[in-house]
Amino acid sequence: MSRRSIVVVSGGLNEPSTTRMLGDMLASATRRVLGERGVDTIVDVVELRDHANDLTNRLTTGFASGSLTSVLDTVAGADGLIVVTPVLSGSYSGLFKIFFDVLDRDALATKPVLIAATGGTPRHSLVLDHALRPLFSYLGAVVVPTGVFAATEDWGAGSDQALPVRAQRAGAELAALVAREPLPKPIDAFDDVPSFERLLGGD
């Protein structure tokens, strides 16, 4: 059985958090489809709230603490990501953005990413396509076609059960990308230092 790693990055700030719940729902949908294809899936969850201080320290000092470094490495090493943010002031949360600001510039290149968000009202749902999708396009990720937005009413008693169906579709799309052979990792700057003759030649 082959093996893939999925990391959920959750920007939820409350405990319990619907942002985390949505992330878990998407992770199990992805895991189910990968399982059907004979792929064993390891899921890690990163709660950004746990690293809030380390993230702002990283901004002021330019280096990451030990525990933040291992989180950044986990995300960079994942075969696929599920990223979930609450909508604050009409966009992804500041904490969520800081995390992707401090991640290595090339860490998400060609990486399959499922985007998702939570909000109080479905009127925020375009945040997926107006804020998250451009961010992850910029970072060079392969963003799956279906993004998932969950408003308060999707969790409520009168829910039309559209959310699980949509989560299933998005999970299947992510699973299809993650199951493929991963593309080669970007070259480390230290492994590709041009020789001085080349530097001097102005190449």
Partner: protein, 371 residues
Amino acid sequence: MQFGVFSVGDVTTDPTNGRTPTEAERIKAMVTVALKTEEVGLDVFATGEHHNPPFVPSSPTTMLGYIAARTDRLILSTATTLITTNDPVKIAEDFAMLQHLADGRVDLMMGRGNTGPVYPWFGKDIRDGIPLAIENYHLLHRLWREEVLDWEGKFRTPLQSFTSTPRPLDGVPPFVWHGSIRSPEIAEQAAYYGDGFFANNIFWPKEHFIRLINLYRQRYEHYGHGQADQAIVGLGGQVFMRKSSQDAVEEFRPYFDHAPVYGYGPSLEEFTEQTPLTVGSPQQVIEKTLEFREHFGDYQRQLFLMDHAGLPLTTVLEQIEMLGGEVVPVLRKEFESMRPAHVPEGPTHAAIKAAAEERAAAAIVTGVEAQ
């Protein structure tokens, strides 16, 4: 091994009393720090170069020339000289002149500068940072070695039949370090010329600098200047000391908390755990500095940042006295006892001159034998 002090030359308000020194006071304070550095038996004083407030040292050779006249033994250096935005011809002239006046006590450290707006002020583009550092230094290197030079490059007006004056003292150029905190290209550059490599490691964890220095050492060997462990490495350090480490922490904390570089971020405790900053007793400084050798190998120059973040001059001078009186004598002995015989000492004009004379003598002998 050479020990010294490097100064950024920042004008920073003292957070404990709200007092900001004038530029005149800060400039004179830097000179006083340099004189104290020699007085307590340290070897090197290096000044930064900046062209924007809140920094004062825009004209390093002016300051170092003045210090040269008031000292006898101190090596005068820079940390760094901007190889990107200064005209390499003027660097060649200024530092050759300074070297004559200082009787061979000058070396210098090339750096690109980390202040974006400086580039356009001097007609340059920050995106050319590495190419400028490469081309400008190559020109500087030749200006000091070729009596009459024809030269053409991308960034500067061409030179025809140009002689940079004065010629280097005793015919040997000042020793050059290349400083970098980030770019492997600069480690490669230092290795290519067999120059020194200075990693200003004070603000970041060691792992990054281990890679950078290892790269420099490997490439130094690759270019045939000697074994990897013979490459010339310099490191930074940052300390605040009192007899009891608790007093040191208490006194330094307000300066740390408001410092321009790391203030308003991690706690003093977190920062000292992850970076070379040591706030404690002289013994703790000794232990932390000895660890550098374990991480980076035997090295040739250790510079400490002492006067910054608004610390009053009297405090800084006390710190330098502790450094010279209690810390460095122990470090000298320890480092010297561990240094293998084939690893060179810190670079001096006298040693470079002697090596050049030896090479010249060997060349004559070879010439005679060939006849």
